[in-house]
């Protein structure tokens, strides 16, 4: 079947998480088949990542006592003391919930369990040699280098375990063409954003990364929880649909596959 033609605007809208489910599925299918379209999607995604990084600095600075007082008035209301950015503020919790709700254009059905797994994983402390590093430099669309940390993690780690580089396989499933695929997350401690992705094992014992989506780390909740929705998660779910992903396999079956070297 010939894939439908998709425009650059549609691809950008897909990366932005602004397509309705039907259109997202069309674009995901086209991306799965056409490398040049994937390259454009990657370009859009990289540009957004760079923009987030370029204007990120104000996110790190605490709200000044002056501005806090201006907004809250003299009632002394709200958290006082150390303006530690890591501290949860009551308003922030409400806001994050609202943001997530508003950002979710549709609820994907595929592998709801996978997204549930994502919740509750806290941003584990990991050190990257050479300092802070954007999450998605570890994971790029295409074949993962055999010597690289992503290949190593996908090859050797059971789901739920996290590598020194902050790579965590989340679950394993078979896709529509019976390839073994794994969903993973990359959460380097100091990165501006985190990345989610799907990689499928090829006949020559490599892992092909099908999609990487990123979420600004600002979306991580006060408890360090990764959000279950947002444009990133939606794009991921559309890709799962396009791949014809079957339900995640049970841990025991995964262990067996891992021991057999995924064959």
């Amino acid at each position: 079947m010939m894939p439908e033609k998709v425009s650059e605007e549609q691809i950008a809208a897909y990366v932005d998480g602004s397509l309705d489910p039907a259109e997202a599925a069309t674009v995901a299918a086209a991306l799965a088949q056409d490398e040049s379209l994937r390259a454009y999607a990657e370009e859009v995604r990289q540009a957004s990542r760079l923009l987030r990084e370029a204007f990120e600095e104000p996110m790190r600075e605490p709200v000044s006592a002056d501005l806090r007082a201006t907004i809250l008035g003299s009632s002394g209301l709200g958290p006082t003391g150390s303006p530690d950015r890591g501290a949860a503020e009551p308003g922030q919790v409400v806001d994050l919930a609202q943001v997530r709700k508003a950002r979710r254009p549709w609820v994907g059905m595929a592998l709801a369990a996978s997204i549930a797994l994502v919740i509750g994983v806290s941003a584990t402390s990991v050190m990257i040699p050479g300092g802070p590093q954007p999450a998605d430099q570890v994971a790029m669309v295409g074949t993962a280098p055999v010597e690289g940390p992503l290949h190593q993690a996908l090859e050797a780690l059971p789901s739920g375990r996290i590598s020194n580089e902050g790579i965590q396989p989340m679950l394993t499933f078979y896709d529509g063409s019976d390839r073994i695929c794994r969903e993973f997350e990359v959460i380097p401690e100091d990165a501006v954003e985190l990345a989610f992705g799907i990689a499928c094992r090829t006949g020559d014992q490599r892992w092909d990364v099908e999609i990487v989506v990123t979420a600004p780390k600002g979306e991580v909740g006060p408890d360090g929880f990764v959000p279950a929705s947002g444009p990133g998660a939606d794009a991921l779910e559309a890709m799962l649909d396009a791949l014809g992903a079957k339900p995640a396999i049970a841990p025991a079956e995964e262990t067996e596959l891992l021991d057999r070297g995924w064959r």
Partner: protein, 165 residues
């Protein structure tokens, strides 16, 4: 009155500053803009519709306050970023960090070349992760306008960023 909203507003300040930095191109200008926008918002808290997004409402106020400033100065886009060079020299530790810093400097320069309205849309969608619909509502602009602004912004920005690689 409005205590919950005020607490939420304080929590929003870092994101408001990020947005303001993206549309003004200067952290100092952005900081000042957020301050002014918060004062304005506090004055008209009765106009905020409960149940709608406070962040969208605030972004809108930041954006309109900025447009007012630009107009009253009778110029646009020529502010540059006076603190850009400072920031490079401030943290020039290690070749890798310096290189990344230069790349991001180019990103900011590329953003500064876009018209005001395109910058605001791009900041909401690419940086804040807004859906097109939410961005249209926040900026009180038709959805089609948001989409065409975004397309124009990207067609200009992407080639500029490619050059910088």
């Amino acid at each position: 009155m409005y205590e919950d909203i005020k607490v939420e507003m304080v929590a929003l300040v870092p994101r408001l500053r990020r947005f303001a930095y993206a549309i003004t191109g200067s952290q100092d200008e952005g900081e000042d803009l957020v301050q002014a926008a918060c004062v304005k918002a506090l004055d008209r808290l009765d106009q905020f519709k409960p149940g709608t997004r406070l962040d969208s409402w605030m972004f809108r106020i930041v954006q309109t306050t900025w447009i007012d400033r630009v107009r009253s100065r009778g110029r646009r886009g020529e502010l540059g970023d006076p603190d850009a060079l400072d920031r490079i020299s401030d943290h020039g530790v290690g070749a890798r960090a310096a290189e990344d810093r230069l790349t991001l400097e180019r990103v900011r320069a590329a953003m500064a070349q876009l018209p005001e309205d395109q910058r605001a849309v791009l900041a909401l969608v690419a940086i804040e992760g807004y859906s097109y619909k939410a961005a249209a509502e926040a900026l009180e602009t038709p959805l089609g306008t948001v989409m065409s602004r975004l397309a124009r912004a990207r067609s200009k920005l992407l080639p500029l960023l490619k050059e910088s690689e």
